[in-house]
Amino acid sequence: MTFTLSHFSAAVLFALFASVVFGITQRNTTMEQIRYGLYCFALFVGGVFAAGWVMWLLRR
């Protein structure tokens, strides 16, 4: 089975799964794990938007 994801959806899926693993493995309590997972996800997706705007500015 082959499927094509857009660059953005691939980045969001990557951020989601990596954040779940980081949250579970890098913190001890459940609340800390959820908070750290959300923090990582926000940084990943925020990084995607930041890189997108940098590329837009470079292209102008």
């Binding site: 082959t2 994801l5 691939a10 990557f14 989601l16 799964f17 990596a18 693993v21 579970i24 309590t29």
Partner: protein
């Protein structure tokens, strides 16, 4: 009261986290079957979340025509890719046996697919190390 030299020697020889049988088995099982290292230690929710994350990343990577590296690529980057891929344990061996991830890259996102497959393996290494820490008692 100050410790005697015998007490100090006894404290030094006893490790803080003694190596148990589970501390050896859990990371191996966790490497072979993503998340299973946590599940056999009764951390069911964590184990299932890890399993879903690693397996989904691996399968999405294959679905995007991501390449699965062999052990004898010759090039240093291919060897590093192989080490990353190997982290997925049984998924990697299954992919090699079935011949998955050998198709030529047909579109740009195939490079993302390769990255998904490698990162799935690297995340599984972290999960296996976490299972080891839980078994040692370093982590609840």
């Amino acid at each position: 009261m100050a410790k005697t030299s015998t007490e100090k020697a006894a404290t030094a020889s006893t490790p803080e986290y003694p190596l148990t049988k589970m501390a050896i088995i859990a990371p191996i099982v966790g490497w072979l079957i993503p998340g299973a290292g946590h599940i056999i230690q009764k951390r069911y929710v964590r184990g299932i979340l890890l399993m879903v994350s690693v397996v989904a990343m691996f399968l999405i990577g294959l679905g995007m025509n991501g390449r699965v590296y062999g052990p004898n690529g010759g090039d240093i980057l291919e060897m590093l890719g192989f080490v990353g891929d190997l982290g997925s344990g049984a998924l990697y061996f299954l992919a090699r046996i079935m011949g998955w991830g050998q198709a030529a890259a047909a579109h740009a996102t195939a490079d993302y697919g390769k990255t998904f497959v490698i990162v799935a393996g690297l995340l599984n290494f972290i999960a296996a190390a976490d299972a080891h820490h839980i078994a040692l008692g370093k982590k609840p």
